[in-house]
């Protein structure tokens, strides 16, 4: 299982997902975060009914999640990076503490201050083959994961199950333009640095 949007290898450790390791399955559920405008249904529950449950290897579209592929997408990504750290990090506005407590405890600037330098946090996102661009607010994200989730939802990127129609799913890569005007692959630098330098984003088809 791989992330739908290819990122450069992240800087932090991600535990490999291992179905044979019950501790990881029984651990706290990972939360997919920012939902798309349609507010995807939480098919997550189907997968995480109780503490001991194996995850579906392949997402089945008829698994009670009737309409929303957004939910399906979230399920897959969750499985990939099942990491206790990221559980909390992925959810916007969680844990419920004020910004002044979160960052540097009075030392760091608030996220908003950092954002002010980049047009109030909004950056344009273009996707190859899509005429109309979108804008994403970086201030409500605090990791690459939340950002890619949002972009997945925004652009309707989801993986069709290999079983169903045999079609090879398109895979994308995410690039950003930095302050110097160079295009870089997203994920190269720590999130905080990325946020201060990103000017715009581009989703491109990956040529395998």
């Amino acid at each position: 299982m791989e992330l739908q949007l290819g990122l450069a290898p992240p800087n932090h450790l991600i535990k490999g997902f291992d179905l044979n390791s019950p501790e990881e399955i029984m651990g706290p559920a990972k939360w997919a975060c920012v939902r798309g405008l349609c507010g995807g249904k939480r098919d997550f529950d189907e997968a995480f009914d109780g503490p001991i449950k194996t995850l579906p290897l392949l997402w089945k579209q008829d698994d009670g999640g009737d309409e929303d592929d957004d939910g399906a997408q979230m399920g897959l990504d969750d499985a990939h990076s099942f990491n206790q750290c990221n559980n909390r990090r992925s959810v916007v506005g969680w844990p419920p503490i004020k910004a002044s407590r979160k960052l540097g405890y009075g030392g760091g600037s608030t996220q908003r201050e950092e954002m002010d330098e980049s047009k109030g946090g909004y950056v344009k996102v273009m996707m190859e083959g899509v005429a109309i661009g979108r804008k994403v607010d970086l201030t409500v994200h605090d990791s690459y994961q939340t950002l890619t989730h949002t972009l997945n939802n925004m652009f309707g990127i989801y993986e069709k199950s290999g079983k169903e129609d045999g079609a090879k799913s398109p895979r994308y890569k995410l690039a950003y333009q930095d302050k110097e005007g160079d295009w870089m692959l997203v994920g190269d630098v720590p999130w905080g640095t990325f946020v201060q330098t990103v000017q715009r984003l581009k989703i491109q088809k990956r040529n395998d």
Binding site: A29, W31, G50, C85, R88, G93, P96, I97, R101
Partner: protein, 572 residues
């Protein structure tokens, strides 16, 4: 028939200090209504959009003190876009014309511009107290206007605001003639202040009781300030970096020794832990200690400090205190009434932090505990049940298990029973925040037992609409309900629409409510504003009614849809 001249009635009403009592009195008869409204000097408005400034002024012509709240509570956690609203300027402009005698303004979660502060400083010659909590939109230039123009300023209290620090010399703008300060709190400012001006200001204000410094004020200056103001009762230290056993250290210790009145201590943005003994002289008198912004004070240093504080009634700490430290709190602070434990690093799991054990210890050792905010790694039903039994007097109980939906870590069960025990035992519970794995059952308990509940915060909980309905049906005194990421939809929202007029507000985000549900609610209840917040770019201008709503904020109002809503806020 008894006849009371209005002057007598007014005098009697002077003894009614609570808003609720005065509101009740005003409903008795026309005469009481009239006397009450002319003699009302303090007004509290919990939602600035519930009424317009003009309506306030029409009803209460002689207000001297106003408290206003703006954004919904979840704005604290970045769930509300910055431009949503809550602007204070229209209020100040209206009051400038009608309340020349205004003395106090207290704002929470509002957008305050420098222009507002400038107007405030010039329009009210008697202005005495400005308290800003979790506000934003202003810079230190605005503070400079207040300092320069408010000749009788007694209180300038800035709590956790997001201030653009222009590093100007706002402190210098207090004229030499300003000697009236009683309370000065600039702890949340990030920039430097003119230290000489600060010292001189403190020296010429003999009534100064409360002083909270920001991190730019070093220990040496703190020492000088304490020497000049030994009458201080509430102190927020700045940075306290000292070489142990140095001259400065000795001076600071003796300065603290001289402060016989300090009851409340906070700050310590940066500190050399080995210098904490300088503070010991005042610890035994402290009733309030806030070290939640002092991550440098940990482990044994923290524990040793706490052992000196036997009279503590309020304690705010970081979770690096650990269960061990909480056990020390339990055995030392027998008078403890309020405890808040904040996460040191919200994103790190593992062994750091506190668990149910710490909470249980405190519940055993501190029987007067009635207010709790507790961020922890894990919890059990057994622990919650024990806590409920030991501390039946909780009025505020906010538990945040850092991993969403985490079950009882011993039994893997949902935490319904534990929270159920809390609401059943604590009959005076007014505020509750839930976390962990929870089913509809917990809401059944809440609806059944939490009769006095006024504010409820729910996240990642419940199975169906029934959950929300239990709460709406059962909690007769509910004023604020905020829900995120729960499977509650239109049925729950629309079953009892009249309920929302008895409440201040309802927030629902990432739930199953649809646009249609919001439209129906708005149609049925014209005295509610049903706002949908779309903080993402919309390609389609007219979305499908079946679409789920990402963020909905519903509140009662006398004055209809607000005129200052940004384009991403739709009022249905």
């Amino acid at each position: 028939m008894m006849y009371f001249p209005e002057e007598v009635l007014e005098h009697v009403f002077d003894f009614l200090s609570s808003h609720r009592d005065r509101n009740a009195a005003s409903l008795v008869c026309k005469s009481w209504f009239k006397v009450e409204r002319w003699s009302r000097h303090k007004v509290f408005i919990g939602n600035c959009y519930a009424i317009t400034p003009e309506r306030l002024i029409k009803r209460f012509p002689k207000v001297r003190s106003l408290s206003l709240k703006g954004k919904p509570h979840f704005a604290d956690f970045n769930l509300v876009p910055h431009e949503w609203g809550g602007f204070v300027l229209p209020w100040i402009e209206a009051m400038a014309k009608s309340y020349p005698g205004l003395e106090e303004l207290r704002l929470k979660r509002m957008v305050v511009s420098d222009e507002s502060l400038e107007l405030l400083s010039r329009a009210f010659p008697n202005f005495k107290a400005l308290v800003l909590v979790s506000c934003e939109g202003f810079t230190t230039d605005g503070l400079a206007s207040i300092a320069a123009n408010c000749r009788f300023l007694r209180e300038l209290d800035l709590q956790e605001n997001d201030v653009d620090d222009h590093r100007g010399h706002w402190l210098c703008r207090f004229p030499d003639s300003c000697t009236s300060l009683v309370s000065l709190n600039f702890a949340c400012l990030k920039g430097e202040v003119n230290l000489g001006a600060l010292e001189r200001l403190v020296a010429r204000c003999p009534n100064l009781r409360s002083l909270r410094l920001n991190r730019s004020v070093p220990a040496e200056i703190l020492c000088k300030i304490l020497v000049k103001a030994p009458q201080l009762m509430d102190l927020g230290a700045g940075s306290c970096i000292l070489v142990p056993r140095s001259d400065s250290f000795t001076k600071l210790t003796s300065a603290f020794l001289n402060c016989a009145s300090v009851k409340s201590l906070s700050g310590f943005w940066e500190v050399t832990p080995r210098c904490l003994p300088a503070v010991y002289p005042i610890c035994s008198k402290l009733t309030s200690l806030n070290l939640s912004y002092a991550p440098a004070i940990q482990g044994n240093d923290l524990i040793k400090l706490i052992r000196h504080c036997q009279k503590l009634q309020r304690l705010w700490v970081l979770d690096c205190i650990g269960d061990k430290g909480l056990a020390v709190v339990a055995s030392t602070c027998k008078e403890l009434q309020e405890l808040r434990v904040f996460p040191s690093d919200p994103y790190v799991g593992g062994n750091a932090g506190v668990t149910e054990e710490g909470l249980v210890s405190v519940s055993i050792g501190c029987p007067k505990l009635h207010s709790l905010l507790y961020f922890c790694q894990q919890m059990t039903n057994a622990a919650l049940t024990t806590v409920a039994k030991n501390c039946p007097r909780f009025t505020r109980f906010r538990l945040c298990i850092l991993d969403p939906k985490r079950p009882d870590h011993m039994t893997s069960q949902p935490l319904d029973e534990g929270f159920g025990a809390i609401v059943q035992s604590c009959k005076d519970l007014r505020r509750l925040s839930l976390s962990g794995l929870l089913t509809d059952q917990v809401f059944l308990y809440i609806g059944m037992y939490a009769e006095r509940l006024e504010m409820l915060s729910i996240a990642f909980a419940g199975d169906s609409d029934k959950g929300m309905l239990y709460v709406l049906n059962g909690c007769k005194n509910l004023r604020k309900l905020e829900i995120r990421d729960c499977p509650f939809g239109d049925d729950a929202l629309l079953t009892d629409v009249g309920k929302y007029e008895t409440m201040r507000s309802l927030w629902m985000s990432s739930c199953d409510v649809t646009i249609r549900g919001c439209k129906v609610l708005a149609e049925k209840m014209p005295r509610l504003n049903v706002e949908i917040i779309n903080d993402k770019d919309l390609i389609e201008e007219t979305p499908d009614d079946n679409q789920k709503v990402e963020k909905m904020y519903v509140y009662r109002t006398l004055d209809g849809p607000r005129k200052d809503a940004p384009e991403f806020v739709w009022t249905m």
